[in-house]
């Protein structure tokens, strides 16, 4: 049995003291070259889900290749006291000084509780909930404006669809999801104003059977491009491919699952954020507390176009991407009506990605078939 597996009581105390020391040193700018920076990742689902968790795990794999960095990972950790214990275990037993609990529900109360208990450890959470003055300074959050990538995917979908009917399998009618559905639809409408998006909410983040049923029922209704916002798009994309219709990915690249029908997809590019944060730690600084960005910052991207993507759609999506990058295109701008006929953004108003009102979006735009409740 090798030494690293025998952690006696004394060894643990030493390890914990070492971890605390490393944190202090790290922040003082004198990181010990021999002691690697231990970074902990916690995922709510399996690491290879072709979705939310894989997007993070792929970025964690990039960190593993950095010199002086050790990555420890745990998958399928529920949003309960279990995640608190996983964080504590990584701190106490592995000497982790930078933790990325990646699931939305890990933040409050779990990560906040641990951050108070371990003030020398840095916690960064994916989801954008951190507020200056309200939350501890050793915590922070990061997120990407992935609706920008969804808008581009929508353009390709709208241009490629023959029936003009798009499908969206969504987990819950919460602001982040509604924003994606709306951006995707607005993108599609920018190339074909008659496009409609049928949305089905399954009710939870990982319900493969319901996701397959939703996809099949939309295909039966004449939908010929589907996309989704659930933890793992695998089932939706595979079901679409089997039925011979087009699909647009989410979270990470699913082209492998649908070599024929995969058009493009909205992907996270977390490695940009993780590498920055790890470099900050190595330079003895605390990583940013509030990190957000979209296409321009490289935090989100679109998948390479698949063989079925319509050339006109690719062209228009590339043009829209340039316009988003140079700031001349706003996705959410008035006049905009929801699908009940109410004006949600008045004429002449245009929202930039950072607009707080977009964070509490509670409507579906005109052209979306479905209801938020």
């Amino acid at each position: 049995m090798s030494d690293k597996f025998t952690i006696g009581r004394r060894g643990l105390l030493g390890g914990a003291a070492g971890a605390a020391g490393a944190a202090a040193l790290g922040l003082a700018g004198a990181a010990n070259a021999q002691k690697p920076l231990v970074v902990g990742f916690i995922y709510v689902g399996p690491r290879d889900d072709y979705g939310y968790n894989q997007a993070h795990a792929e970025a964690a794999a990039v960190l593993k290749k950095m010199p002086g960095v050790k990555v420890v990972e745990e998958e399928k950790v529920p949003e309960t006291v279990a995640v608190e214990k996983s964080m504590e275990s990584m701190i106490n037993m592995d000497g982790a000084t930078l933790l990325f609990p990646t699931s939305f529900g890990y933040f409050d109360p779990h990560m906040l509780k641990m951050a108070v208990k371990y003030p020398k450890i840095q916690f960064r959470h994916c989801g954008g909930l951190w507020t200056q003055g309200k939350h501890p300074m050793n915590t922070g959050s990061y997120f990407g404006y992935i609706d920008e990538a969804q808008y581009l995917s929508g353009i390709v979908a709208g241009a490629t669809s023959k029936s003009g009917k798009l499908g969206f399998v969504a987990a819950k009618p919460i602001p982040q999801v509604l924003r994606n559905i709306n951006a995707f639809t607005l993108g599609a409408q920018s190339v074909n104003p008659k496009v409609t998006t049928q949305v089905i909410f399954t009710g939870d983040w990982s319900l493969p059977v319901k996701e397959a049923e939703a996809t099949n029922s939309m295909i039966a209704q004449g939908v010929d491009v589907v996309t989704c916002h659930v933890d793992s798009p695998k089932v939706v994309i595979e079901t679409a491919e089997r039925a011979g219709i087009f699909s647009s990915g989410y979270h990470c690249n699913q082209a492998k699952l649908a070599p024929k029908g995969y058009l493009t997809g909205a992907e996270w590019n977390w490695e940009r954020i993780y590498v920055d944060m790890v470099n900050a730690m190595k330079a003895g600084q605390a990583p940013g507390n509030f990190v957000r960005g979209g296409l321009k910052d490289g935090y989100v991207r679109t998948s390479a176009y698949g063989p079925a993507a319509a050339p006109a759609g690719k062209e228009k999506a590339d043009a829209a991407k340039l316009a988003i990058l140079n700031g001349s295109l706003a996705i959410f701008k008035g006049p905009l009506k929801d699908n009940k006929g109410n004006t949600v953004i008045p004429a002449g108003t245009s929202y930039v990605a950072t607009e707080p009102k977009l964070e509490s979006m509670n409507y579906l735009v005109e052209g979306v078939v479905g209801a938020t409740s």
Binding site: S2, K4, L12, P46, E73, E74, E75, G105, P109
Partner: protein, 345 residues
């Protein structure tokens, strides 16, 4: 004496057999050293004070939810609606906590506990009543009730009880920091552990030393005989189901009042289903539930370490749990055969 010996020897043998089977799987399929794995599991579950607290924190909800299966099982009923009782208990507890948020913490905590236990109790009593008076199989109905419970939870959490500021993870209003029940002093294990142990002791005393317990044994042995003896079978069925449901409901309240501070979808993470496993492994004995829950809590606690150090998937510990479950069920046949009986005459 021999019986007592058997009760210890048979499960021990079953656990040993499971360990060997799991070790073989590790060596052949995962290609890791089984001894190293077991040493690591021991470290993660019981090796340090931190590990112990980790284990006990995970065991706490399982002790309470296991009673939901164990108590009706004394009457020969197999109830598996633990998860549903926990969920409705948690939501009722949160609702009571929100309603009494102006009152003193003790009043609010009592209100939460009572609401959770009443709701959980009614939930499982419903399955008992359906069985007793309508002949509906209680195993199926209690399982189906779980899905209704989760749907109801989603309705309340995303509708009437929703805190509008919980944008992307719909939750109820918080019950407030003052009303949280906190941890056992000197540890970071919440009070749910104590509630569970007290509930198991109480169940054992009632089953072992009272006429109620005796009546339940008679019914469990043969309901027809019990009826002929003039026992009100229906009443005992409802009582046992309600008591079990109340225990699981209390587990839901503990999740709200000691962990989350509010009710949301994190209530339904499988504590109820794990409780079924615990109850069967404990052969529905209230006292045996405690060590079994600690064992399963320990397996859960060590799972993370196995992932991090040996790169094993999360499924590794689930496989171990499954092997133990099968081994314990299979070992039932060993009772009465393991040790040579004294021959008469």
């Amino acid at each position: 004496m021999q019986q007592a010996l058997e009760r210890i020897a048979v499960p021990t043998l079953a656990l040993l057999a499971s360990a060997i089977a799991f070790g073989l799987l590790l060596a052949v399929y995962a290609r890791v050293d089984p001894l190293e794995t077991f040493a690591l599991m021991y470290q993660g579950a019981f090796g340090t004070w931190f590990s112990w607290q980790n284990t006990l924190t995970r065991a706490a909800p399982l002790i309470l939810t296991a009673l939901c299966t164990a108590l009706p099982a004394r009457l020969g009923f197999i109830v598996i609606g633990n998860e549903g009782a926990l969920v409705v208990g948690g939501v009722a507890g949160a609702a009571a906590g929100i309603a009494t948020s102006g009152a003193s913490p003790l009043v609010a905590q009592l209100a939460m506990a009572v609401a959770a236990m009443v709701m959980g109790g009614l939930w499982i009593a419903l399955a008992g009543a359906l069985r007793q008076w309508r002949g509906v199989n209680e195993t199926i109905s209690s399982l189906l009730l779980t899905y209704i419970a989760i749907a109801l939870m989603n309705h309340f959490v995303e509708g009437p009880l929703r805190d509008p500021s919980s944008l992307n993870k719909p939750s109820t209003w918080p019950i407030g920091d003052a009303n949280m029940i906190g941890t056992i002093p000197g540890t970071d294990v919440h009070w749910g552990l104590v509630f569970g142990i007290v509930a198991c002791l109480l169940a054992w005393v009632v089953l072992r030393f009272t006429t109620w317990g005796f009546a339940m044994q008679v019914i469990g042995g043969n309901p027809k005989t019990a009826r002929m003896m003039g026992l009100d079978v229906g009443r005992y069925v409802l009582l046992a189901c309600a008591a079990g449901g109340a225990a699981a409901g209390l587990a839901g309240m503990v999740e709200v009042a000691a962990v989350h501070g509010r009710a949301n979808a994190s209530l339904a993470v499988g504590y109820g289903f794990a409780g079924i496993l615990v109850s069967f492994l404990a052969r529905h004995h209230p006292l045996a539930i405690i060590p079994v829950a600690v064992l399963l809590g320990g397996i859960g606690a060590s799972g993370g370490l196995l992932q991090r150090r040996l790169d094993l998937p999360d499924a590794a510990v689930v496989v171990l749990q499954g092997i133990i479950f099968v081994a314990i069920l299979a070992s039932e046949t060993l009772y009465g055969r393991l040790l040579p009986r004294k021959r008469e005459g």
